[in-house]
């Protein structure tokens, strides 16, 4: 399983690398000790930054899960917008840049999930406390992070990202007439 996991991280190299980078950035901003910042290592922590446990602080543990997820998701959206419509929707297969951006888009989408350990830290820091308000507001985030980190354990996020990339133009196609109208106004 670790071998498959590492292989999918290598295939989605840009996404894995930048996830490590975003986690390092959070560690730096939130003063979290980062032990191992290598993006690629032959273990289940490949594509993640190894850092000190964050069971005490719910906001730090939330940030370390949420920030890389959001940044990679936004980047996947940018790159898939610039490639999936041209390549998959319209069928222009002559543009080489589209293939590169499609790879970037799928890579970032495949590396949104936090590590299983980070997800457990988040769970312990929020649901190990008595603060009901925190439990409620973090509930949807926890559900998302839990589902994604569990899927990533079995490298299923890679398959999901490929499906997401192929279906991207059809998922967000409803916004095209609005954007076109906006462009004509500008």
């Amino acid at each position: 399983m670790t071998l498959i996991y590492v292989i999918t991280r290598i295939i989605t190299l840009p996404g894995a690398f930048f996830r490590t980078l975003w986690q390092l950035l959070v560690c730096r901003v939130c003063s979290i000790a980062a032990f191992d910042t290598r993006a690629f290592k032959f273990s289940e922590m490949c594509g993640h930054t190894e850092h000190e446990l964050l069971n005490e602080n719910p906001w730090k543990s939330f940030f370390i899960c949420w920030f890389p997820f959001t940044m990679n998701f936004i980047l996947s959206f940018y790159f898939l917008s610039g490639s999936a419509y041209q390549l998959i929707y319209v069928g222009d297969t002559k543009n080489i840049l589209s293939y590169l951006f499609l790879w970037f888009g799928i890579s970032f989408a495949a590396n949104c999930a936090p590590s299983f350990e980070d997800m457990l830290s988040f769970k312990d820091s929020v649901y190990g406390r008595k603060n009901v308000f925190l439990k409620i507001i973090f509930a949807p985030f926890f559900a998302l992070f839990c589902a994604m980190s569990c899927l990533e354990k079995y490298s299923l996020t890679f398959l999901m990202a490929v499906a997401y990339g192929v279906c991207f133009p059809y998922i967000f196609g409803w916004g095209l007439p609005v954007l076109s109208l906006f462009q004509s106004i500008l």
Binding site: L25, E52, G91, L176, P177
Partner: protein, 485 residues
């Protein structure tokens, strides 16, 4: 004596020695006893200590099972440990690392190279979004075309696809998927006959340029394009036969020549036909059987052989029921004429199911409703179709006939006059004659008849019967063919 003295001395020495030895032995014994006493005391003490120390040890063993990860992680204060990074001993730390090293790790710099990489990916992201923004108008047109196609509005989809293709051709972008999908929309309708067939083949060919990868989803379009080429080739073979020099003098009365032409057309079924496929290869296929029957239907119909024409049309239906565009409307009309309303309704439903904007389907439903005497329903069906094609003269004519059946000739006149502004052909004028006669405008009727005669057109038998008073308008529009012819 000396010996005795020696012996005595020896005895004395021995006695002395014995006394000394005795004294030493006693002292030794005394010491040994003291040592033994000491040993006994020490042994007792050690035994006591051992017994109390085992209880303490057992308590420690039980307690360690309940220690959780946090307690293990937090090292007991006061116990000196070695830092895993710097190797120095420390008292306060976490996860095997001293406080100073933890402080350094918390302040680990982000790195200049990492900053550059973030900037680089940001720039690439902007380039990607810029590429999307430049073509968002075309993507929106493609979205509209696909949405219309998925809703079954084939006519609107065709127009939207053409707009999208023009957009991308203007930017020199090969919109392969749009070529294929628009070809499919045209293939469903084939509204312009042979022109549509060549259009389908051209669009599919454009999609198969040199850089096309052999993707499995494109096989469907390739087969569709080749099928359109076979249909076109079959039609060309038909024209080649009827335009032969020996048939130049053909008239509808010449039965021998008619049979000869039909025999040659029969021979096309199964005969080889060479086409250049959409991907540029020469391929030998056979003529399309359904298209041969349709060509025979056209020839028989134009030769006035109505009954035989219907037979050929039935063969088209049996051979290729999916080619609704080829036979459905005409076959439904002939079914109506034969009184088979059920078949006509089924075909009308199939036409609308294939294309929600198929005017022929709505026309058939309107005709069926009018024949059954339900004028309101007939008007409703024509109004639905007029939403897609408001300038369709035939739809307006059907509406006018339904209005006459309903008993509103004034409104029927407005509708038929509007139809005549868009088109001018025989049956439109015949319908106009009937409506003007209903309104009592005999002068207008005579003028129209004269105008038609000046063009060499005679009023149809059914209209003549109506003008002669042999049948009423209701009988004209609801019985027999239910039409002016």
């Amino acid at each position: 004596m000396e010996d005795e003295k020696v012996l005595e001395n020896n005895e004395n020495i021995g006695n002395n020695e014995n006394s000394v030895a005795t004294e030493n032995t006693e002292e030794l014994n005394k010491e040994l006893e003291e040592l033994a006493e000491l040993f006994r005391k020490e042994l007792a003490k050690t035994t006591e200590e051992f017994e109390t120390g085992g209880e303490v040890e057992s308590e420690a063993t039980e307690g360690s099972e309940s220690v959780n990860d946090e307690e293990i992680a937090d090292e007991p204060e006061g116990e000196p440990l070695l830092c895993a990074l710097c190797g120095e001993s420390y008292e306060n730390g976490k996860e095997g690392i001293c406080e100073d090293c933890l402080k350094d790790l918390r302040n680990r710099p982000f790195g200049f190279v990492n900053v550059l990489l973030v900037i680089a990916i940001g720039v690439l992201g902007i380039v990607a979004m810029r590429g999307f923004w430049d073509n968002v108008g075309g993507y929106a047109l493609a979205y509209e075309a696909k949405a219309q196609f998925n809703m079954g509005n084939i006519s609107s989809a065709k127009t939207a696809y053409d707009n999208a293709i023009s957009y991308f051709e203007g930017k020199e972008i090969n919109a392969r998927n749009l070529y294929f999908e628009s070809a499919e929309a045209i293939f469903i309708q084939m509204s312009e006959g042979s022109v549509s067939m060549t259009d389908v083949a051209d669009r599919v060919s454009k999609g198969f340029d040199d850089s096309a990868l052999p993707m499995p989803q494109y096989t469907k379009y390739k087969n569709m394009g080749n099928e359109a080429l076979v249909l076109y080739g079959t039609m060309q073979s038909f024209y080649d036969i009827v335009n032969k020099s020996e048939y130049q003098q053909y008239t509808a009365d010449d039965r021998a020549m008619y049979n000869s032409i039909m025999k040659e057309l029969d021979a096309l079924i199964g005969a080889p036909l060479e086409i250049q496929t959409v991907d540029g290869k020469l391929k030998e296929v056979t003529h399309n059987e359904a298209m041969v029957y349709f060509c025979q239907y056209m020839f028989a119909y134009t030769s006035g052989k109505t009954y035989e024409a219907q037979e050929y049309l039935a063969k088209v239906y049996e051979t290729e029921p999916d080619y609704l565009w080829l036979y459905a409307y005409e076959y439904a009309l002939s079914s109506i004429g034969a009184g088979d309303i059920e078949t006509a309704e089924k075909l009308a439903g199939s036409l609308i199911e294939a294309d929600r904007q198929d005017v022929d389907g709505y026309s058939l439903y309107s005709t069926i409703a009018r024949l059954s005497g339900d004028a309101d329903k007939a008007i409703e069906w024509t109004d639905k179709a007029l939403e897609f094609d408001p300038e369709n003269a035939e739809l307006l004519r059907l509406k006018a006939m339904a209005l006459v059946v309903k008993g509103d000739p004034e409104q029927a006149k407005e509708v038929i006059d509007e139809a005549l502004t868009y088109e001018s052909y025989g049956i439109l004028y015949y319908t106009s004659i009937v409506i003007e006669n209903e309104l009592g405008n005999t002068e207008t009727v005579e003028e129209t008849v004269s105008m038609l005669q000046s063009y060499g057109l005679e009023v149809s038998d059914r209209v003549n019967s109506y003008l002669a008073g042999k049948i009423t308008t209701e009988q004209l529009f609801t019985e027999g063919t239910g039409d002016v012819e």
